[in-house]
């Protein structure tokens, strides 16, 4: 097989597999899923209305399982006001299940066609910078040589741990639990100029969790086709 033929074969195979994948995604029935951050970080109440983790989960879940239609947490909190605000949200899983069992709550979530609610939580821990960088500057009297610069090396460990509970709204029960963890180190080498190379543990953990949530919902929904 010549190189040109081989290239054509590969291109064709990729196109066919893409079309098949698209066709599969289009034929799967859509699954409406709500997303909320819970338990809430009460020191950052604004996280209850969106944030980088929510954005990343939405994007990842859509990439992995395009049939899942995600309803953002702002919409869920508005629909359930005042029961899911940072000051009033349930504190335990039993209380959360009781909230989802309330008739008015069920009615409002059902009116949006929601089958599952994903409650996600997590944090990034950064214990502090280690090492050191010294910066300084100076001239060389009347001569042409002078200037400023930094020299050294600093690093910081970073761990992001995220978790999600997938609630089935039909019976207000936990359908699945998923978690993801990513560890990394940010480094800043400095030779004249400091060059920060930051760890991306939030993105990594979130991508992993998003994939797991998507597959878990797809599996759970397929095992319960009667409710589709």
């Amino acid at each position: 097989m010549t190189t040109a033929k081989f290239a054509k074969f590969i291109t064709g195979a990729v196109l066919v597999s893409c079309c098949l994948f698209q066709a599969q995604a289009q034929t799967l029935p859509s699954i409406q899923v709500g997303l909320v951050s819970w338990p809430l970080d009460k020191t950052h109440p604004s996280s209850a209305f969106g944030g980088d983790i929510e954005e990343c989960l939405v994007s990842r879940i859509h990439d992995v399982a395009p049939e899942i239609v995600l309803i953002p947490q702002r919409v869920i909190r508005d629909a359930l006001f005042p029961l899911l605000e940072p000051a009033t949200a349930p504190e335990t899983e039993e209380e959360f299940a009781a909230l989802l069992s309330r008739e008015e709550v069920r009615r409002r979530l059902a009116s949006r066609g929601l089958r599952y609610l994903v409650a996600f939580a997590g944090e990034t821990m950064r214990p502090g910078w280690k090492g050191g960088i010294l910066c300084g500057g100076g001239g060389a009297g009347s001569g042409p040589v002078g200037g400023a610069g930094c020299f050294g090396f600093a690093w910081q460990d970073e761990t992001t741990a995220l978790s999600a509970t997938i609630w089935s709204l039909a019976d207000a029960n936990v359908a699945q639990r998923e978690d993801a963890k990513a560890e990394g180190t940010s480094v800043v080498p400095a030779f004249l100029l400091p060059v920060p190379i930051l760890a991306q543990t939030r993105q990594e953990a979130c991508n992993e969790l998003g994939s797991r949530i998507a597959l878990a919902i797809r599996k759970t929904a397929s095992e319960d086709p009667a409710r589709q």
Binding site: S46, A48, A79, F81, P82, E85, P86, A87, R108
Partner: protein
């Protein structure tokens, strides 16, 4: 027109003051809650009153102005409508305390809405916003059944980009979250309040006997 040196200084100062005032924008906060709030409704016909102090509550600082009273009144109208089977807004005059309409089972009043916004900086002094309400329920004989004093605070250490990107959006979020939280606290507390439930039971009993 010729201006005296004294007059020209006044004109310059007035122009400067006007420029400063026009720079001080009013923040737009969505007045209505997107959906009627959830509350176990009480079968009562209640008059709604909003005191002048609550209606006109406003935050003014060098960067922006927030009409806290206006937003609060609109939201509490929705809250009260979720709490009671029927509501009727009472006129400002004559004062409702003089005589309550015999068709009403009681009156609920947003008596106070006090807000504070203390601007910090991005160097270790957090911004601080707080709101406190007073909501009082009276029976048909103008006897106080219960007063609630829900409040909420929002404190955040600003970073430089918060204000560079959009100072208005940053402040709007702070005010919006805090108002929302105080109202949520009120509703959840009131929904479970044994005094309110006992008053509701009395009204139900009275209606059954009629």
């Amino acid at each position: 027109m010729r201006l005296s040196p004294n007059g020209s200084w006044k004109a310059i100062l007035s122009a400067f003051a006007l420029t400063m005032l026009s720079a001080c924008g009013t923040l737009h906060i969505e007045e209505k809650l997107p959906e009627p709030p959830i509350f176990s409704p009480i079968d009562a016909h209640v008059g709604l009153s909003f005191s002048g102090a609550a209606r006109t509550s406003v935050i003014i600082n060098p960067l922006f102005r927030v009409q806290v009273g206006k937003v609060s009144v609109t939201r509490f109208e929705q809250v009260f409508a979720s709490m009671f089977a029927q509501t009727t807004e009472l006129p400002d005059w004559p004062p409702w305390q003089e005589e309550i309409d015999s068709r009403l089972d009681g009156v609920i009043e947003l008596a106070q809405a006090e807000a504070k916004f203390t601007l910090g900086n991005d160097m270790g002094h957090p911004d601080f916003f707080s709101i406190s309400y007073q909501v009082c329920l009276y029976d048909s004989r103008v006897v106080q059944v219960k007063c609630w004093n829900p409040s909420a605070q929002y404190s955040r250490q600003r970073v430089l980009t918060d204000f560079i990107i959009d100072a208005g959006a940053y402040a709007t979020t702070a005010v919006e979250l805090t108002i929302r939280e105080a109202i949520a606290r009120f509703m959840v507390e009131a929904d479970k309040d044994p005094v309110l439930r006992s008053w509701a039971a009395t009204i139900r009993q009275r209606k059954t006997m009629q």
